[in-house]
Amino acid sequence: MAQLEKICTFHLDGLYLGIDVNEVHEVLPTQTLTPVPLAHPIVAGLINMRGQIVVAIDFRRFLRRQAPSVDQRQPINVIVRNGTNCMSLLVDDIGDVIEVDSRLFTKPPDTTATETRSLFRGAYQLPSQLLLVFDTLRAIEAIVSQATSRMLQSGHESNPHSDRR
């Protein structure tokens, strides 16, 4: 019997991506970002989510996609959380919540780079294009570990003006 899974979809640099709808805390329209000087470049800034301060992640940069030009930048906040961390993933545009048939699901191909592979649970083969679904908890973990890593940060420090938007 076909099982249906509800996926919250969004677009990012031409990719069609999704997160299990149960793992999405909420979706917010573009928010004012308060930059955090000296922080890792994937930290886009802080947003005020009804009194809670949430770190917004430059999801494009985290996924090593091209940075958009400045005028395009009206990112949507997809708020996700694990036990301890709450963060906003900045995406280009939000899609619909769709129901997909679990029989259409495939694991990532072996040839995918390990780093990328661990972020995704797999993909749904939809008629028009592939919907890549995140392993949310793992992705959060990877974001936290990257954001707190000192190495890239120091590289960032030594070249402070390259990342100013």
Partner: protein, 777 residues
């Protein structure tokens, strides 16, 4: 939290409270052994623990509590007197139970330790007591059956025992209590009530009421009446701290919402709104105050264990000391209290170990043999001050001077130039100790710096006053709460930042000529000339990479804050200084945990976010603590191990020409060690370091002849590093710097030196020289 966990949590809390009380009682009892009534209390707590342990199926805990209880019964009925050995034994019992409870708290099981020795010792004493008293039989259980028959309700000790035993049986199903089960039959139903009620009682803050909450174990009428006649008992409830935290957050948000409304209506000038808004204002303030107060706890809670600590330590050091606690009612936020608890204990221990002299010395000095330790807390201008004073030897500045030179905190050539305050402050530097030998108490040279750091982390300060032979006073000043702090807002670029007011010494605005008079360069370091003092100065915008350094001359006016963190002061140049505000501190979370420049963030009235600057972190990242580092190590290498060091390496020179790189994460610290201190052992050169034998390795091909005569004494740079849990020393010619590990490391064919201390894993050019990258074996 599941129901089971809740019960377990409840049990752990109850046990801890009980054990704290036993500690206090036993110490008091030792001073006045004839006061038998106190024993009752101990007995009942042990009994409750035993009962609950049985109920929750912790047989080991049950067994040990049972052994203790048996001994206690001998003490209660007078067949054995409290002597120092017994008191010691009981205190050890408390420690063991505490450990088991800690294990229960951590893992939900009681651990693997059986503690048979302790049980045997307890039983030995119990049996001894039985033999000494002819009326008693060998086993306590044989005596008991008489008790219910003898209608001995008037006899306080015996009666209590009866009640307790029955209660223990009522809530216990395991074999631990085989003895009490027999006895319990007459009264099984009633005690349950006492048991059920007990969790809802909170331990009242005042010790006077302690006995009341203890009586939860009792089922007798006299005990129950004692419980309910205590008014405090029923007015206190135990609340999960999370609930209070949530409440606190909500109130914080309410305050912000109020601010917002006030702001909006101020521009509208609607008279109708004015009155309700004023009311809202008042109510919110009252609510905020009220919620804050629920989180406040008397400092006494952190002090409960001091008499015990003092007793044990004094005994261990062969000293006599009494402790006086004043102002235990002074309240401060729970999280604050937790943060200062350990540093305070450390200071108390220090006072006894270093401060108070041995009795004979005190006699020579004409002081009473028993030393005095005074711990005092009081509130003043929104801050809590805690003082720890002793009437001991005071700081021996000459000895500190000697030691400071020896461990390299003060360069030898400056030995005589160090001022008294510099010497006093040097005890706060990492690696410092005046103890000649390492004891289990102190002398490891880690301590005061940790105390200082943890106090500074919560925005507090620490001061030290000392007079030779008169004593030492250490004063901690901490804010009342961490959650809401008064702060000064500053602007930098388009952003606003908050600086906690506790760190702000003064604010300056310099215009025109003043700019040039007050600001100067010390070679290339910007400094502020303030009333004859030179303060290092940093430009916030530049340090945060918000804008590039703008020369002083470009700006028409300069706005400068003089900040302090502990005893260090520095100047911070900002774009504009704004107003002072009360801000609600929100944590930044794990994602920004490595950003030590910020201690949190705050929501402003208009909904925008301001980052809160951590003054210590800013100073550190701006390199303003450099002077302190040099004072310590005679090189610019930071002794502090920051998290995330994996990619940093320590660059050293060996062999006069070779440059090597060692992963900084493996480095414990850098030391200068006198060549005269190097000794030989079978395995090679060693040096005694902080009470351990530290093997020394060399990488040089031309091995240094280390057994130089003492007259030829020279100081060698040693990198102390860690391999697994062992510390090793690596002799190097010179420590050069800390650098990033380059990504383009050319992998060398790993040159394996089977017995050598290190393997070369690659080479790269660092700081203009070819450098071997080492992996320490």
């Amino acid at each position: 939290m599941s129901h089971d966990q809740e019960i377990l949590q409840e049990f752990v809390v109850e046990c801890r409270e009980g054990l704290d009380r036993i500690d206090a009682v036993l110490v008091a009892l030792e001073a006045a052994p004839e006061d038998k009534s106190r024993l009752d209390v101990v007995f009942r707590i042990l009994h409750t623990i035993k009962g609950n342990a049985g109920f929750l199926e912790f047989p080991k805990l049950g067994a040990i509590a049972h052994a203790g209880e048996s001994l206690l019964s001998k003490l209660v009925n007078g067949s054995l007197n409290v002597n120092p050995q017994v008191a010691d034994l009981l205190l050890r019992l408390v420690d063991v139970i505490r450990n088991i409870v800690a294990e229960v708290d951590a893992s939900g099981t009681e651990g693997d330790l059986t503690n048979e020795d302790l049980i045997r010792e307890l039983t030995d004493w119990t049996t001894k007591a039985s033999k000494e008293t002819p009326s008693d039989q060998l086993k306590p259980s044989i005596v008991k059956p008489k008790v219910p028959d003898s209608t001995s309700t008037q006899q306080e000790p015996v009666r209590t025992y009866d009640a307790d035993v029955s209660k223990g049986a009522a809530d216990t199903k395991t074999q631990v209590l085989d003895k009490s089960e027999i006895l319990a039959q007459p009264v099984t139903a009633e005690p349950k009530i006492g048991q059920l009620e007990s969790p809802s009682f909170v331990e009242p803050p005042r010790p006077a009421t302690n006995t009341a909450s203890l009586s939860d174990a009792g089922s007798g009428a006299s005990l129950s009446s004692r419980v309910f006649s205590e008014p405090e008992q029923s007015t206190v409830i135990r609340v999960q701290i999370d609930h209070l935290d949530d409440l606190m957050n909500l109130v914080g948000e309410l305050v912000l919402t109020r601010n917002r409304i006030v702001q909006i209506t101020a521009s509208r000038q609607d008279d109708e709104l004015t009155e309700p808004i004023q009311r809202l204002n008042r109510l919110t303030a009252a609510l905020q105050d009220g919620v804050m107060r629920t989180r406040m706890q008397p400092v006494r809670n952190a002090w409960k264990k001091y008499p015990r600590i003092v007793r044990d330590l004094a005994k261990q050091c062969g000293k006599q000391c009494e402790i006086e606690l004043q102002g235990g009612d002074t309240e401060l936020d729970k999280s604050m209290l937790e943060a200062i608890a350990d540093p305070l204990v450390h200071l108390v221990r220090n006072s006894i170990d270093h401060g108070i002299e041995k009795p004979y010395l005190r006699r020579i000095k004409g002081k009473p043999e028993t030393g005095r330790l005074l711990v005092r807390a009081f509130q003043e201008s929104g801050q809590v001050h805690i003082e720890i004073s002793d009437d001991g030897a005071g700081l021996d500045l000459e000895r500190i001077r000697k030691k400071a030179v020896e461990v390299g905190i003060i360069p030898r050539e400056k030995e005589l130039l160090a001022t008294e305050s510099e010497l006093r402050n040097s005890i706060f530097l990492p690696g410092f100790t005046t103890a000649d030998k390492v004891t289990s108490l102190s002398g490891r040279g880690v301590g005061m710096d940790v105390v200082k750091t943890s106090i500074e982390q919560i925005g507090g300060t620490i001061e030290l006053h000392s007079q030779k032979d008169l004593g030492t006073t250490i004063r901690l000043t901490v804010p009342l709460t961490l959650a809401i702090v008064p702060a000064v807002m500053v602007a930098c670029g388009s952003q606003r930042f908050a600086i906690p007011q506790i760190n702000v010494v003064e604010m300056l605005r310099l215009e025109g000529e003043e700019r040039y008079l007050a600001c100067d360069l010390f070679y290339d370091t910007p400094v502020l000339k303030l009333r004859g003092e030179l303060l290092p100065m940093a430009d916030l915008g530049e340090k945060l990479h918000i804008h590039s350094s703008s020369g002083i001359s470009i700006r028409e006016k300069l706005e400068i804050l003089v900040l302090k963190s502990g005893t260090r002061r520095f100047a911070l140049l900002v774009d504009a200084i704004g107003d002072a505000q009360e801000i609600v501190v929100k944590p930044l979370g794990d994602l920004l945990a490595s950003q030590t420049e910020y201690s949190g963030a705050a929501l402003m009235g208009d909904g925008s976010i301001a980052l809160i600057l951590d003054v210590l972190g800013i100073a550190r990242s701006a390199g303003l603590l450099e002077s302190e580092k040099t004072l310590f190590h005679d090189s610019s290498v930071a002794p502090v191990l920051d998290p995330g060091l994996e990619q940093q390496v320590l660059i050293c020179e060996v062999d006069g020409t070779r440059q090597i790189a060692i992963p900084l994460a493996d480095v414990v610290c850098l030391e200068k060690i006198s060549s005269a201190k190097i000794e030989k052992s079978l395995t090679g050169e060693v040096v005694q370091y902080r009470g351990e034998i530290l093997p020394l390795h060399q990488l040089s091909q031309n091995r240094l002849e280390v057994s130089t005569p003492a007259s030829d004494e020279q100081f060698l740079s040693v990198v102390i590093y860690r391999v697994a849990e062992t510390w090793m020393g690596l002799l190097v010619d010179r420590i050069i710097d800390v650098a990033q590990r380059p990504t383009d490391l050319r992998s060398a064919e790993a040159i394996v030196q089977p017995n050598g201390p290190a393997t070369v894993v690659g080479t790269a050019v660092v700081l203009g020289r070819v450098t071997d990258f080492l992996h320490l074996n």
